[in-house]
Amino acid sequence: MRDVAVLGVGMHRFGKFPDKSVTELCRDAVVAALADAGVQWREIEAVAAASSRFSGGKGWGLNGNDVVEDMGSTGIPVYNMSAGCAAGGNAFNIGYALVAGGIYDVVLVVGGEKMPKGFIQTSGVEEETDPEFLRQRCVGMPGPAFWALLCRQRMEEFGTTEEQLAKVAVKAHQVAVHNEYARFRKEFTLEEVLGSALVSDPLRLYEICPVSDGAAAAVICSAEKARQLASRPVWVAGSAVATARFDDGLPRGLAGMVPPGKSYHSEAALAVSKALEQAGAAPEDLDFVELQDNTVYYELAFPEDWGLCKPGEAEHLLERGETLPTGKLPINPSGGFLSFGEATTAMGVFQVCELTWQLRGEAGARQVPGAKLGLGQTLGLGGNGTAVVLKR
């Protein structure tokens, strides 16, 4: 395997852009990534793109083909990766593998999305053989309710308070004020978060990420190419994809077995441990983490799942300010999904952008001081998990 560098990254700001197509959002991100990399479109040898269910892609998830047609059809291969909300992370992993495996030298990874209004329907399938369909038809448990169930369980186990849940959101917005790409660049008080409507008790509106429009792109290349271009490359120390294990205890579909141990979101834990192993790093070596905070619950649960802290310790780290960019365990210095909103399939690439800026020391007022090693993580429907470890 060859060393792989992230040569350049670019994003379109997240928000609601009714007058722009997903192709236009992607164009902005790609143009910015190419400029950042100092690479011409002609030099891109392949595209690894996140497949969207909601926008563009000719209804078939051919979102990479849209980008190539828009930028100029040079005849290059396009890999459209579908993995629910993990699609961007999945696309990065494929792009990485193609460069590391010596197939191509310069690859573009891109994810863009325009989301429909409101809370999304989990499954696109209306068949009585589809477990997601059955779960929604027979029970009525959309995504936020699923997160609320996990959150309530944690509150029972560790005594997590409603104030602590709200403080995760307060912290997210506190840092997002300094991120020009964030959708919400405004501080929220604890009272404002606690005063927002219950979406799925115990979770409130400001404790759940909304859906957004947005796009992100990254140009990755071989080490040889990176040295030629004399840029400031950030290196891919690890990139991994996983799926959920059979003994996972999450209530997916209608039912599973009562699990032998405590293992939830095994797809995320597996991907993270694989990426760390590739990087030759231990969890405590990480200087910061960008994780998928669809809701405040995950910012408390994931760090302990991955060995970044002890079970039940995340609430204390939060209270002491240790998850801020200047703390011991900075989590989501970008502002995270809570501040960006989820442009589902762009998120894995969005994280690569933030990791890169942080590792170059270009993150301004939200900079993690001296950041050398960072982790990004996404997960998606179907039990898809992805992780990436970047270093400088």
Binding site: F119, E128, G140, V199, S200, P202, P251, L254
Partner: protein, 140 residues
């Protein structure tokens, strides 16, 4: 005239003299329970898939609960005007962890760790008054 009651989806549950049960399968080799029915054991460590019909319930413990405060998107069903309902994840005594609505009037009255039992209750009503039935859990 008695109200017509039909399952919201066929083949998932039944009610006998012994009360409500979920209809699924269990692998005779590795004992893994499945709901809904499965033709194949999905346990990667199982040496020989040997699926048998199984009925699950009615006793269980509430692993967690939450409230659905807003009307859920399709394909969920509910009666107008919308009333928030409680959701539960229940560990049944026979080894199945299953999701379901809680059959309670006030969602706030549901507590994690509570003993619950399986019941069959209306999810919503059709225009002609027909009740669409699903499985739910009621604290005991």
């Amino acid at each position: 005239m008695a109200t017509k009651r039909v399952p919201v989806v066929e083949g998932l549950f039944s009610e006998g003299a012994d009360g409500a049960r979920l209809t699924g399968s269990r692998c005779a080799t590795c004992k893994t329970p499945y709901f809904p029915r499965s033709d194949l054991c999905h346990n990667p460590d199982c040496t020989q898939s040997a699926m048998e019909d199984a009925r699950f319930g009615p006793q269980g413990t509430l692993w967690s609960c939450a409230v659905q405060n807003y009307p859920p998107p399709p394909p969920a069903r509910y009666d107008e005007p919308y009333r928030p309902y409680a959701l539960g994840v229940v560990d049944l005594a026979d080894g199945l962890r299953v999701v379901g609505r809680m059959a309670v009037d006030d969602p706030k009255h549901v507590k994690v760790g509570a003993r619950v039992e399986l019941v069959l209750e209306p999810l919503c009503r059709e225009e002609d008054g027909t009740e669409l039935i699903t499985w739910m859990f009621r604290p005991v």
